[in-house]
Symmetry: C2
Subunit: 227 residues, 2 copies
DNA sequence: CCCATGATTCAACAACTGTTGAATTAGGTG
DNA sequence: CACCTAATTCAACAGTTGTTGAATCATGGG
């Protein structure tokens, strides 16, 4: 008995939906709904395909989430490596400001995913811990190296714990990127974009005063962040 | 036709499951599974009742979550009010350290809920924004007042933005409480509790150096935090 | 004792979920 | 043209979800 023509033909399509497009859709839906709230049906709708196609590219929902995380970090670490090169002889505050610029450029979007990841870190979710520690740890080591070089050059306090200070610098910067825009209009009475720029500059200056070997040395003039 | 005896008799029980007990269970399940991942059936199991009882006390799952948030903040604000009283003439760093002690005491548990709340803030979830801003804003104003008094007394830099600095102080402290324990063993090679204590002390000292009017003034000796 | 009220469970609803095996198709190769 | 492979959809599975109306019960008051 001949089958009725199907609503949408099966088989490969001229405009393929590849793994990257699925991950683009995943990023948007995970960001908006969270890990548990995001459904594969919603991700498939966003990508314009059937949910079953997701299983062609990924083993499971969790595998897809892991793949999403894995494709995010490398450019950040490579950018940071350039700044942490000991051959960079600029004053430490300018190098740290570059670090902030890199984080701003690379991470000033998709706070939803980062909140999600942070939530999973706090929750102690296995599997993700390993992945994130490998990635974040790599970035942290670059920033730590800059602080260690600053100590060696006499610009940064000898009693500083470079790793802990790296945690402070990066973590508060992420709060400025993720949370400050949302509370800016209520708390500070300024638009979100201006709040982030102001917050980053203020944080850099406070942080530098907190770690500088010479407490009376002025903070160098900081160039504007790229938009 | 007489009905079979039910598995569990209906009607009021000697040991009642009241709204607070439901919220206790909710806090545990929301903390562990997140807002979307937490189910009313899991909350009811934790409380030892039927899921339908939740609807006797709350209009919906979302209403329950809102009620959970509403019952958390007040003691924090009251504690902070005592420290921000202008009658407190102690040096500003000791008052700010008290603030840190208060946050430590009141918030050093249930990072899961706070991550969840932070995620909803970042996501821009309506309804929750208003509630959280009212609560968090109240606490922030107390801390801001201490900074303003410090400026007036000449202990804190005149060019400081008190509200932004309050955001810095509190936000990084929450990261120390929530995230530092999780990454401590991998990143710092110390147990989580020690990492938090060390992190809080280091942050207080860095923050003070960053905001002090006299950059050469030493940070006063800080008493130990309560366990 | 009777009745009312508030507090509980039961059972069901409609909808959704992650996942899978099979059917179908597009395109490339020999 | 035939065949193969990879890529797609379909339909279904078993389970879960938030929510609700009705049945049942404990307790207290008249």
């Amino acid at each position: 008995m001949p089958q009725l023509p199907s609503a949408r033909p099966r088989g490969p399509k001229p405009h393929r939906v590849d793994a990257d497009q699925l991950l683009d859709a995943a990023q948007e839906i995970f960001s908006r709904e969270g890990l548990r709230g995001a459904s594969l049906r919603a991700i498939a709708r966003q990508a314009g395909c059937d949910p079953a196609l997701i299983y062609y590219h990924f083993d499971s929902k969790e595998a897809m989430f892991t793949a999403l995380l894995e494709r995010r970090f490398p450019p950040l670490i490579e950018d940071l490596r350039r700044v942490s090169d000991p051959g960079d002889r600029r004053p430490t505050p300018l190098r740290l400001w570059d670090v902030m610029c890199i984080y701003h450029t690379r991470l000033s979007h998709n706070p939803g995913i980062r909140s999600l990841v942070r939530g999973e870190i706090v929750r102690g979710t296995e599997g993700i811990q390993e992945l994130i520690q490998n990635q974040v740890g790599g970035a942290a080591l670059q920033v730590k190296a800059i602080l260690e070089q600053g100590i060696a050059r006499g610009e940064v306090r000898q009693d500083l714990d470079p790793l802990l200070s790296t945690f402070f610098l990066v973590k508060l910067h992420l709060e400025i990127l993720d949370v400050l825009p949302v509370v800016a209009s209520r708390l500070l009475g300024v638009p979100p974009g201006a709040a982030v720029a102001e917050g980053e500059r203020a944080w850099m200056q406070l942080f530098w005063r907190g770690i500088a070997a010479d407490p009376t040395a002025p903070v160098p003039s900081l160039p504007d962040l790229e938009p």
